[in-house]
């Protein structure tokens, strides 16, 4: 009988094919569209790198679910067992003596002081370094006591001292020059002090973590976490639907969300997103120097229709330069109404009258026309731009949509070479992040918005001693920004994480979806396919 190699190969494959969901039963597999860059908190800047290193390295304290950044009640102890404010410029942290690095060494105050030096080092070039600008020094008083000295008083001192830094092991890193930290082998096989320990990283494919069963704050409920890298969003969703993965941080596209919604054994868990998207006008370029014209354009856009047509139920109309994740979000923020009649009157009053080509508006022979930059990386913004283009066309305003690759668009906006740009902003829990995008002189204030009243309100809000006192001030500032129509704040997506039914006890803190993973657990079998061998502990 002749050999049939193809048939033999097929049989062999079939013999070992027991279904696609054959991962270790004690592991939660996370489908992600991007690999990590490096697992070193001061350096990593991509989502997966941040998510993984967040579970390897602890903060001194963590925000609670309220994400109240203003006072101490919004934080729970982690590495720091307690803290005190001996004066308005100092916070003293008392470290938990049970905290250990995964090589057995204790976590000490010297680690905290060393970490601060690393984050502030120009040679490390940490992206979060600017947020530590108000901290003058960090000093170890004894092995378990560390003092943070601030250059000025402000209510978010504790937030800045704890949220921006994850503590590093000095004894493993202090022999490496700061300039070499990012490329040191430690960043690809780190030793942390968090609830999970590093197991392996297969570049471009997989990152494995195992629960640190001796973690000082209690053994995590899930024994292993595995990140599976699949760049194509539809394929990543397919992994979850096929039972090959248990979770996805967020499914950003409506079509993919609808696939998951109808699937058995998988559920969506909604949570507020830290994003908003806005059309930012270049206030240094005519006709956007005219405030009334900007307001008219903003009133001519029906943002509710835009959101409904692009996202359906999966996004909110943005109330301003914030997202539902921040405690300042409120429907009561003053916004310009959708009012085409008022928009038409305002444009007529400014001399922009219909009568140009195609019935479009023009003034002195100059058509009312502008170019809107949209990144090709965002299909939702491209779709939303088309809807907005149509709405403005009906108002007599011509919009040319120019899709650009992300870095090209960033370059254009950074250099001021644009009329209007459809940008998205990722904000952190503190409303102070608003200033990064909208304060005069800030590099990310691409439209060059400047309003003394807005500045004065935000300055006052930053000094307000409590959330109750600060919130109305922040909301009034958001209202001022909306009044000025420096941008049209279009949408804030509702994040939806996908989970296999067997992942139980899921709660999500919006700024960091895995922040509470230690309390999650694995229940029944993975949907879609049989299980295979259990993993090693």
């Amino acid at each position: 009988m002749r050999p049939r190699p193809l048939l033999a190969a097929a049989l062999l494959l079939a013999a070992c094919a027991r279904g696609p969901g054959g991962t270790a039963r004690d592991a939660m597999v996370v489908a992600t569209t991007g690999d990590a860059d490096v697992l070193l908190p001061p350096v990593t800047s991509v989502t997966t790198g941040i998510n993984v290193s967040d579970l390897l390295f602890c903060r001194l304290a963590e925000p609670t679910a309220s994400l109240n950044t203003v006072d101490d009640s919004g934080f729970r102890p982690v590495l720091a067992r307690s803290w005190e404010h001996p004066d308005s410029l100092t916070i003293v942290f008392h470290l938990d003596p049970r905290a250990r690095w995964q090589d057995g060494a204790p976590v000490t105050a010297a680690d905290v002081a060393y970490t601060f030096g690393v984050y502030r080092s120009p040679d490390v070039n940490a992206p979060l370094a600017p947020f530590l600008g108000a901290i003058a020094s960090v000093t170890a008083r004894d092995s378990l006591t560390v003092a943070f000295r601030f250059s000025r008083w402000y209510p978010e001192q504790l937030y800045d001292a704890t949220y921006q830094m994850r503590i590093l092991p000095r004894h493993l890193l202090d022999t490496i020059p700061d300039a070499k930290l990012a490329t040191a082998p430690f960043g690809r096989a780190p030793v942390g002090d968090g609830p999970y320990r590093f197991v392996r990283w297969v570049a471009g494919a997989e990152i494995d973590l195992a629960a640190d069963t001796a973690w000082f704050l209690g053994r995590p409920g899930i024994a292993r976490l595995i990140w599976r890298v699949t760049p194509e969003l539809a394929s990543a969703v397919s992994q979850v639907l096929a039972g090959e993965a248990d979770a996805m941080e967020v499914i950003p596209a409506r079509g993919q969300l609808e696939r998951v919604q109808g699937a058995k054994g998988v559920r969506l868990v909604p949570y507020p997103s830290p994003f908003y998207a806005a059309i930012v006008f270049n206030l240094r370029r005519p006709p956007f120097t005219d405030r009334e014209l900007r307001r008219a354009l903003a009133m001519a856009v029906d943002r509710r229709t835009v959101v409904q047509s692009v996202f359906g139920p999966f996004a909110d109309v943005a109330v301003g330069a914030t997202s539902p994740m921040q405690w300042i979000w409120s429907d009561s923020v003053r916004q310009l109404p959708f009012d085409t009649a008022a928009a038409a009157r305002a444009l007529d009053a400014r001399g922009w009258r219909r009568g140009g080509p195609g019935g479009m508006r023009a003034r002195g022979g100059v058509p009312l026309r502008f170019t809107l930059l949209v990144p090709t990386s965002s299909s939702v913004r491209q779709q939303a731009a088309v809807v907005i283009q149509d709405e403005l066309r009906r108002a007599g305003v011509a919009v040319d949509i120019q899709p650009l690759e992300f870095t090209v668009m960033e370059r254009r906006t950074e250099t001021g070479d644009f009329d209007a740009a459809f940008v998205s902003r990722t904000i952190d829990p503190s409303p102070a992040s608003l200033l990064q995008w909208w304060s005069p002189g800030a590099a990310a204030n691409i439209g060059h918005f400047a309003d003394p009243a807005f500045q004065s309100l935000t300055a006052e809000a930053l000094r307000a001693p409590s959330r109750a006192a600060a919130a109305p001030l922040w909301r009034e500032a958001l209202g001022r920004l909306n009044d000025d129509a420096a941008a049209v704040f279009v949408f804030s997506p509702r994040n939806n994480a996908a989970f296999a039914a067997r992942i139980q006890g899921v709660t999500i803190r919006p700024d960091s979806w895995l922040a509470t993973v230690t309390s999650w657990r694995i229940g029944g079998a993975r949907a879609g396919a049989p299980e295979r061998g259990a993993a090693r502990p």
């Binding site: 054959g22 860059d37 991509v46 397919s238 090959e244 993993a535």
Partner: protein, 324 residues
């Protein structure tokens, strides 16, 4: 033969050098900026960006950057990845074997399928089988690779659960499997991405092979073989097929760029950690050193593919004398 090999080698080296120079100039001339971040990355402050640029020498004039790059390359140094904080050589060392496995499997599979289908069509010329296979190959040849990949993924992965939809191994099982088990696990994961790449190219091979065989079947030496009383099967396999292989071998050599380009899409769809994915990510992040290194490796692979095709052609067809 030796003179031919040296001449081809010199030409290949010159081509690769040209590819590197052109790629270096193009990526630096392209709009965008490596330190501005990607949608996935945190956007850094202008001061941070400026320091990063200085760190990697991107603040220097372009000729100086090129000379420095060329000098490093001459010493075998490919530089550092701006984004991954790793030596580019390490990035390639991880990714290249995976792409070679995927591309090599797809090339062999497409050749086997294409030759078989083409031979069958030629043997059954103007029959229903010929017509059906002709239609099938035409349809396959017209399908974009990424579309076929997604279709296979949805049907055989997500729908039927026969094969894994993503990755190169089953998550978390690597250390628990024997060597054979790991190989079989990789083979299972290889099926869908390799099939996506192979089926389209197999259709091209089949159409070429059919035409070449039909032409060869009318040649004098084939008629002579028949006249000697050889059976139709022996005529086809021993005489006509060898004579018709030339065009397919040439096409196989020229198809290396197809497999490299296809791998960019297929590796993204199936989460295959190869060179295509590295290139894709590097382009969007403007990771200049990685982009140029991928172009260098791709250039070498294409040149090697063409060289191998020439040699294979000479082996398959004794009428060809290399160097003449």
């Amino acid at each position: 033969m030796l003179r031919f090999a040296v001449r081809r080698l010199a030409f290949a080296v010159a081509s690769v050098v040209a590819v590197v120079v052109i790629t270096f100039l193009l990526v630096h001339a392209a709009p965008g900026e490596p330190m501005l971040g990607t949608p996935e990355r945190t956007v850094a402050s202008p001061e941070t960006i400026a320091r990063q640029r200085a760190l990697f020498g991107l603040d220097r004039p372009l000729p100086e950057q090129f000379l420095r790059y060329a000098g490093n390359l001459a010493r075998g140094e490919l530089g550092m990845s701006f984004v991954l904080h790793r030596p580019v050589a390490a990035v390639l060392r991880d990714a290249l074997p995976n792409t070679l496995l995927l591309g090599g499997t797809a090339l062999v599979a497409s050749l086997l399928l294409g030759l078989a289908a083409g031979a069958l069509q030629a043997a059954r010329h103007r029959t229903r089988t010929d017509a059906l296979l002709g239609a099938a190959t035409l349809v396959l040849y017209s399908i974009p690779v990424f579309w076929l990949g997604l279709l296979l993924l949805l049907v055989f992965g997500e729908g039927l659960h026969w094969l894994p939809v993503s990755g190169m191994t089953t998550p978390g099982l690597g250390d628990d499997l024997s060597r054979l088990g790991r190989a079989l696990d990789v083979a299972r994961h290889l099926v869908l991405p390799a099939a996506s790449l192979a089926l389209v190219q197999a259709a091209a091979f089949a159409r070429f092979q059919r035409s070449a065989l039909l032409e060869t079947l009318g040649a004098e030496y084939v008629r002579a073989a028949r006249a000697r009383g050889l059976g139709e099967r022996a005529v086809l396999l021993r005489h006509a097929l060898r004579g018709a292989l030339g065009s397919t071998i040439t096409l196989a050599g020229l198809s290396v760029p197809y497999f490299l380009a296809g791998s960019v899409l297929v590796e993204s769809i199936f989460g295959w950690p190869g060179l295509g994915r590295v290139a894709y990510d590097a382009i969007f992040a403007r990771d200049y050193n990685v982009i140029t290194a991928v172009a260098l490796v791709s250039g070498v692979l294409v040149a090697a593919g063409n060289l191998l095709a020439d040699v294979a052609l000479a082996v398959a067809d004794p009428r060809i004398r290399l160097g003449q």
